[in-house]
C-alpha cells in the first residue's frame, strides 16, 4: 500500500478540479460533501499507509515513490517523488485528519455563502498543496507545496474580498510571506550550489559525511531556511501577518492559520534536522526566536478583546514553543506539540466560529458572557481545548509542552533562561485562555438584546467536529507519555528513525544532555509540578480578574498604564514596520521606481526604440525613389558583382 502514496495528494486535487470547474452548477450540498469526501478518502489512504508502515521493522520504515523526473539539467535532477517515513506519515495523518473534520465543520459554517464552491475549491487546493509539502522528498517539490499553501492562505484570507480590510489582510500575509520565502529560496539555492542536489537523502547524507558541526556554509543554509520558516510559521519578526489573517472565514483560521500551514516551518526544521544539528548557531537562533515569540505573543494575547485575534496570538505563541522544541534538538517533542496543538487550536478556533455563528458574527469578547448555558457543547469542547493548551495534567497539551520544557532545560542544547521564559509563558498562556473562557462563557451576557435573543447552539455539522476534536484534544497526548510518568513514549520512538542521523552526529561530537541519569529522575517531576503551579497561578489570576472581581483589570491597567498601552498596542510593531519599511518602500516605489525608472527609463526605452526606428525610416526611405530603373540598376550592379565573385574569385 505504500506504493499508493501518490493517491494521498491526488484526492484533494480531484476535488479541486471538480469543484473548481463545475462547482457552481452542482449545488451547495454536493460541493460540500464532495470536498469533504475527497479529504476523507485521503485520510483513509494515509491510515492504511500508516498501518502498513507500522508492520515494517523501525529501521525499514522508509519508502520513496518516484513518479517521474521533473527537471533534468546537466547533472542536476529534481524528481516528482513522494517520501513515506514516520515523520511524513504523522504529518499526513494530522493534516488529513484535521482537514477532514474542518471540512465537515465548513459545510455547516459556510452554509448559504455565495462563494460556497469557491471556498471548498480553495480548501481542497490547500490540502493538496500541504500534502505536497509534507510528502515531498526534495527541497524543490517542498517549495512548490510551500508556495501553494501560501497562495491558498492568501486566497482564503481575502475570501470575502468585498471588504477592503480582508483584501488588505490577504495582501499583507502574502507580502510578509514573500520575505520569508525569499530566504527559503536562497537557502535552496545554497543547497543546490553546495550539494548539487535537492533530494533530502542525498543532501543530508552528503552533509553528514562531508561537514562537521559548525561548518559555516551549513549555518548559512539553515539560517536562510529558517527565515522561510519565520514567515510561514509567524515567528518574530515576520509574525505580523497572522493576526490580520483572522479576516478569513473561521474554518480557514482553524485549518490553515492554526493547525496545518503555520506548522510547515516546524516540519521543515524537523525534516532538515541533520542540517540543523550540524549548525548549533542556527539551533540557538531558532530556540531564542522561538521562546521570544512565545513570550511576546502571549503577552499580546493577554490584552486582546477580539476572540479570534487572541487565538491568533496564542497560535504564534504555541508555534514559538514548537520552535523551542526543535531548536533545543528535541525534534520529536516539537512535532508532538505540533500534533496536539493542531487538535486543540483547531478546536478553539472552531469553538470561536461557533460562538461567532451564535453572536451574529461578533468577535468582541466584551460583548459576550454567560454563553455556557445556551451553548453547552461549544462550552465544554472549548473548555477541554483550554485545559489542553494550558497544560493541565492529563490533557494533551500537558504532555507535549512539558516535554519541550524539560528538553529545553535538560537537553543537549538546553539553557536555563529559555526554560524559565518558557515556564513563565505557560503561566501567561493559562491566564489569557481562562480569561477568554470566563469572558465568553461565564458571567452575564453583555450583548445587545436583539443579538442576545438570537444566541443558539450550532447545527450538528459543526458540533460533531467539535466533539471529535474535543476527544482528540483530551486523549491526543497519551501516545506520548514520558517515562517519568510510567509511559514509554511510543510517539517519540516511532519518530526515532527520522532523527537517528542527527543523534549519531551529536554523539560523535560528544553532545550529551545536560541533565541525565539520576539527577534527571530527581528533577523532572518537581519541575513538572512547578510548571503546573505557575499555570494554576495564571488560572487563578484570570478567575480573580474576570469572574470574581471584574473591576480589577481596569484598576490594575491604570496603575501600569504605560506598559499596558504598550502591550495593548502590540508593542507598536505594526506601526514601526509601517514607518520603517512600508512607507519608505512606498515612497521609493512612487518617486523613484515609478516616476523615474518606469516613466523615464522603461518608457523611455520603449518609446526610444520606436523613435529610433521611425527616425531611421525617415532617412532610409529616401532610397526608395519609386523609380523602377533605379531598382533595375541596383539589380544589374548586384548581378555584376555576383558574377564577378562566382566566376573570378
Amino acid at each position: 500500500m505504500l506504493e499508493w502514496i501518490w493517491l494521498v495528494p491526488l484526492f484533494p486535487l480531484i476535488g479541486v478540479i471538480i469543484n473548481g470547474l463545475f462547482g457552481r452548477y452542482l449545488g451547495h450540498k454536493i460541493v460540500g460533501i464532495l470536498g469533504s469526501t475527497m479529504i476523507g478518502l485521503s485520510f483513509i489512504t494515509v491510515s492504511i499507509i500508516f498501518v502498513d508502515l507500522l508492520k515494517l521493522p523501525p529501521e525499514h520504515r522508509f519508502f520513496t515513490k518516484t513518479l517521474y523526473d521533473w527537471i533534468v539539467a546537466g547533472n542536476f535532477t529534481a524528481q516528482i517523488s513522494f517520501l513515506v517515513d514516520p515523520l511524513s506519515v504523522v504529518m499526513m495523518l494530522v493534516v488529513t485528519g484535521v482537514s477532514f473534520v474542518i471540512h465537515i465543520y465548513s459545510i455547516g459554517y459556510m452554509h448559504g455563502d455565495k462563494g460556497y464552491s469557491r471556498f471548498f475549491t480553495y480548501l481542497n487546493l490547500f490540502v493538496f498543496a500541504m500534502l505536497l509539502l509534507i510528502t515531498a522528498d526534495n527541497f524543490l517539490m517542498m517549495f512548490v507545496g510551500w508556495e501553494g499553501v501560501g497562495l491558498c492562505s492568501y486566497l482564503l484570507i481575502g475570501f470575502w474580498y468585498g471588504d477592503n480590510y480582508n483584501a488588505y489582510a490577504g495582501r499583507k500575509a502574502f507580502v510578509v510571506n514573500r520575505i520569508g520565502d525569499f530566504g527559503f529560496l536562497l537557502g535552496i539555492f545554497f543547497i543546490v550550489v553546495t550539494f548539487h542536489s535537492v533530494n533530502f537523502q542525498e543532501v543530508f547524507g552528503a552533509a553528514a559525511a562531508k561537514y562537521t558541526i559548525g561548518a559555516p556554509i551549513i549555518t548559512v543554509i539553515t539560517s536562510l531556511l529558517f527565515v522561510g520558516a519565520m514567515g510561514k510559521s509567524a515567528q518574530i519578526p515576520l509574525y505580523v501577518w497572522l493576526p490580520d489573517a483572522m479576516a478569513g472565514p473561521t474554518p480557514v483560521s482553524a485549518l490553515i492559520h492554526a493547525a496545518t500551514m503555520v506548522t510547515a516551518g516546524v516540519y521543515m526544521v524537523a525534516r532538515a534536522n541533520v542540517l540543523y544539528t550540524l549548525s548549533p548557531i542556527s539551533m540557538a537562533l531558532i530556540a531564542v526566536i522561538g521562546v521570544a515569540t512565545a513570550f511576546f505573543a502571549a503577552t499580546m494575547g493577554m490584552t486582546q478583546f477580539d476572540i479570534k485575534r487572541m487565538l491568533a496570538y496564542s497560535t504564534i505563541s504555541q508555534l514559538g514553543y514548537m520552535f523551542v522544541g526543535v531548536g533545543v534538538g528535541a525534534f520529536a517533542a516539537g512535532i508532538f506539540h505540533l500534533m496536539t496543538h493542531a487538535f486543540f487550536k483547531a478546536l478553539l478556533f472552531m469553538g470561536a466560529g461557533s460562538i461567532m455563528h451564535a453572536m451574529s458574527n461578533s468577535t468582541d469578547m466584551r460583548m459576550m458572557g454567560g454563553l455556557k448555558k445556551k451553548m453547552p457543547i461549544t462550552y465544554w469542547t472549548f473548555l477541554m481545548a483550554t485545559l489542553a493548551i494550558s497544560g493541565i495534567p492529563g490533557f494533551s497539551g500537558f504532555f507535549s509542552k512539558d516535554e519541550i520544557l524539560w528538553q529545553s532545560l535538560a537537553g543537549a542544547y538546553g539553557n536555563f533562561w529559555i526554560w524559565l521564559v518558557g515556564v513563565i509563558t505557560a503561566g501567561l498562556t493559562a491566564f489569557y485562555m481562562f480569561r477568554a473562557v470566563y469572558m465568553t462563557f461565564h458571567g452575564e451576557l453583555r450583548a445587545k438584546k436583539e443579538i442576545a435573543e438570537h444566541v443558539h447552539e450550532a447545527p450538528s455539522t459543526m458540533t460533531v467536529p467539535l466533539l471529535i476534536l474535543g476527544v482528540l484534544a483530551v486523549i491526543g497526548g497519551y501516545i506520548g507519555i514520558p517515562k517519568i510518568l510510567g509511559g514509554s513514549n511510543p510517539f517519540e520512538h516511532f519518530l526515532d528513525p527520522v532523527f537517528e542521523k542527527s543523534l549519531e552526529i551529536r554523539h560523535a561530537a560528544g553532545l550529551v544532555p545536560h541533565i541525565s541519569g539520576e539527577s534527571a529522575r530527581v528533577l523532572e517531576l518537581p519541575l513538572m509540578g512547578l510548571t503546573f503551579v505557575i499555570v494554576l497561578v495564571g488560572i487563578g489570576f484570570a478567575y480573580l480578574m474576570y469572574l470574581k472581581r471584574p473591576e480589577l483589570p481596569g484598576i490594575w491597567t491604570k496603575k501600569i498604564n504605560y506598559v499596558y498601552q504598550l502591550v495593548f498596542n502590540k508593542y507598536y510593531v505594526d506601526e514601526i514596520y509601517e514607518t520603517l519599511i512600508v512607507n519608505p518602500m512606498a515612497a521609493i516605489s512612487e518617486s523613484f521606481l515609478w516616476k523615474f525608472v518606469d516613466v523615464k527609463i522603461i518608457d523611455g526605452f520603449i518609446n526610444g526604440t520606436g523613435n529610433v526606428v521611425r527616425g531611421t525610416g525617415r532617412v532610409v526611405r529616401k532610397w526608395q525613389t519609386g523609380f523602377v530603373q533605379n531598382y533595375a540598376l541596383s539589380f544589374v550592379i548586384g548581378v555584376v558583382i555576383l558574377v564577378f565573385y562566382i566566376v573570378f574569385m
Binding site: 526611405r621 525613389t625 519609386g626 523602377v628 530603373q629
Partner: protein, 100 residues
C-alpha cells in the same frame, strides 16, 4: 564557318545592349523591346551551343522561350495599355507611386 566563340560574343553584345536599353530608356515600350532583345540573345546562345555540342535540346529550349515570350508580350502590352489608361503616360519616371 566562324568559330562558335564569336557567335557567343555576338550574343553577349546583344544581351548587354538589351540591358543598357532597360536601364536607360524611360519609355516603357522600348524597355519592353529591350527585354525581347535580351531574350533573343539568349536564344542565339542556345542555338550556337546546341550546334557545338551536337544536341537538339538547346533548340527545343528556344522553342519554349519563344512560346513564353509570346505570352509575356501579350500580357505585358496589355499591362502597358492599362497603365496608360490610368496615368495617361508610359514614362516609367512618371510612374513612381512607391517613392518614399
Amino acid at each position: 564557318m566562324i568559330p562558335a566563340t564569336n557567335l557567343l560574343i555576338l550574343g553577349a553584345i546583344l544581351f548587354s545592349i538589351g540591358v543598357i536599353g532597360v536601364l536607360i530608356r524611360r519609355n516603357a515600350i522600348v524597355i519592353f523591346m529591350s527585354i525581347e532583345l535580351m531574350l533573343n540573345s539568349v536564344n542565339l546562345t542556345f542555338i550556337v551551343l546546341a550546334r557545338q555540342l551536337h544536341s537538339l535540346d538547346g533548340q527545343i529550349f528556344v522553342f519554349f522561350i519563344m512560346t513564353v515570350a509570346a505570352a509575356e508580350v501579350a500580357v505585358g502590352l496589355a499591362l502597358i495599355i492599362s497603365a496608360y489608361r490610368l496615368r495617361a503616360t508610359i514614362n516609367v519616371d512618371e510612374i513612381n507611386l512607391l517613392n518614399g
